[in-house]
């Protein structure tokens, strides 16, 4: 099983949702993060004092799937979400040792 952590701009979330739903992802967790990558931060102003908002709001979408679906998802995301701009985001893949469904106690692939 793989955990995909997909970090994108907030405004692309709707599209990613659609991709995930189509790919039949069994579950998803979304959280807000402040990100810093190739995309540069911007300068803000408060009462005339400049400061850098060098962290931009990003959305992190986490989904755990079996290895096969993971690969398909990665392909889908790259093809549909790439706009060719800095800030398009990244996917981080981790191995998952186990999954447990609390309701039933089922473990592993069955719990997905």
């Amino acid at each position: 099983m793989k955990k995909l952590e997909i970090v994108i701009k907030p405004e692309r979330l709707e599209l990613l949702k659609a991709i995930l739903e189509e790919a039949d992802a069994t579950g998803v967790m979304i959280s807000n993060v402040m990100g810093y990558g190739n995309q540069k931060g911007i300068t803000a102003l408060y009462r005339g004092t400049r400061y850098t908002v060098n962290f931009l709001p990003k959305v992190k979408v986490t989904t755990i799937t079996d290895d096969l679906k993971a690969e398909k998802l990665i392909d889908q995301i790259c093809s549909q979400l790439a706009q060719g701009e800095a800030g398009d985001g990244k996917i981080f893949v981790t191995d998952i040792a186990d999954v447990i469904r609390i309701r039933t106690g089922e473990r592993g692939d069955k719990a997905l």
């Binding site: 701009k9 405004e11 979330l13 807000n32 911007i42 803000a44 400049r50 908002v53 709001p57 959305v59």
Partner: protein, 416 residues
């Protein structure tokens, strides 16, 4: 004895000034109401921008209306069309307390637009628009009506400004929202509207309460004199607001299966706008009926605007100020009671026939044509020159950061 007469007269006059000034102060506070409603009903990433627009249209408008607008509205008329005296220093043709009262009314008309054009309009263009409406568009309508121009001679009755103030703001809002186009993401494929919920229902509701409060200056204060009827006017004002809230709530409950918070709050505002023209001319029952219809207009008006005309009006300014402004003005032709303080002819339902309704219609149409034409041309010129709309990237990131370099809620995690 003569002395005494004089001092009684002075006292009476001072009492008129007192009441008018207090009413003007209440109307001023409606600016805070508009700011809260508009910011509450839009997204957090544009909150600072809306605040700036609401502050600056009042600030800029206050100065320009003094220098030019008041003269156009109340100066000696050229063919009943616009005034030609009293520029730069209008205290030569009017008293300060009255100029101040008129200033806050002008500002109300101006500020309505920012809500309909929220979350995508360039700040610079908004400033220019708001200068023009305070300089010309609103004062000309004011000249026709309260300034003693041609419409008032026709018997057109708009006591506190359903047409003069609210529909002027409403028509401009409609033209602006139409020419600007919808926010990114507002309409899906097949033009199906998506909801873009506002970021704080509590601030929105606070704004509605502040507006309701201020309206007790807006309507009863439009007597511009201390007369006992201010109590009656406060009653009709309150009843229409209450009825507007009730009917919008029940209709939304029936139509959507749940009592909708946003529509209910807009229903209150719709009731207030609708009663504004006839507030001194109708009975309490008339006010309740007007409010009930106003709530209905809110729910269906908002629906039609989005689903039929595909116009994106983030805070519902068009149903509130335009549709109910028009309805309220016409309602005078239906519900007016001649013996009331307003002193109009009788409305249709009180045996007055169609004559009053006729003049009301002429008023609605002429103001509508004037305002939508001038505002439309203004927005089109702005579009071709300075540009009316921010870039998509700016819109997506939010106008706060891009237009003002500011964050409105830096301590909180704000969703995209």
């Amino acid at each position: 004895m003569e002395d005494l007469t004089m001092s009684v007269e002075t006292l009476a006059r001072n009492a008129d000034i007192l009441w008018t000034l207090i009413a003007a102060i209440l109307v001023f506070f409606m600016q805070a109401g508009f700011a809260m409603v508009e910011t509450g009903f839009t997204r957090a990433k544009n909150a600072g921008n809306i605040i700036m627009k609401n502050t600056m249209d009042f600030a800029v408008g206050s100065i320009l209306f003094l220098l030019v607008g008041y003269g156009i509205m109340f100066g000696d008329k050229f063919m009943g069309l616009f005034g030609t005296t009293g520029f730069i220093d209008p205290t030569t043709i009017g008293d300060s307390y009255f100029i101040f009262f008129q200033t806050v009314f002008a500002a109300t008309a101006a500020t309505i637009v920012s809500g309909a054009m929220a979350e995508r309009t360039k700040f610079k263009s908004y400033l220019i628009y708001s200068a023009v409406i305070s300089l010309i568009i609103y004062p000309v309508v004011g000249a026709w009506t309260w300034g003693g121009g041609w419409l008032s001679s026709l018997g057109f009755h708009d006591f506190a400004g359903s047409t003069v103030v609210h529909s002027v703001g409403g028509w401009s809002a409609l033209m602006g929202a139409k020419i600007l186009g919808p926010r990114i993401g507002k309409f899906g494929p097949n033009k199906r509207p998506n909801a873009i919920p506002g970021h704080s229902l509590t601030l929105g509701a606070l704004g509605v309460f502040i507006l309701w409060f201020g309206w007790f200056g807006f309507n009863p204060g439009s007597t511009v004199a201390l007369v006992p009827e201010i109590g009656d006017i406060a009653m009709t004002t309150n009843l229409a607001a209450a009825a507007g809230g009730c009917s919008a709530m029940f209709i939304s409950w029936f139509k959507f299966k749940k009592p909708d918070v946003g529509l209910t709050l807009n229903g209150v505002l719709g009731g207030l706008v609708a009663i504004t023209a006839g507030t001194a001319a109708v009975s309490n029952m008339g006010a309740i009926l007007i409010g009930l219809i106003a709530g209905f207009i809110i729910v269906f008006g908002a629906w039609i605007l989005e689903n039929i005309f595909h116009i994106d009006d983030p805070v519902g300014a068009v149903p509130v100020h335009l549709m109910n402004g028009v309805f309220g003005t016409l309602a005078v032709g239906l519900f007016a009671i001649p013996e009331n303080f307003g002193g109009t002819a009788a409305g249709l339902f009180y045996g007055g026939g169609l004559s009053l309704l006729g003049s009301q219609l002429i008023g609605v149409l002429s103001v509508g044509i004037w305002t939508s034409l001038t505002a439309g041309i203004l927005f089109l010129i702005l579009k071709k020159t300075v540009g009316l709309r921010v870039s998509p990237a700016e819109e997506l990131e939010g106008l706060d950061l891009r237009e003002h370099g500011s964050e409105s809620y830096p301590d909180f995690m704000v969703k995209g």
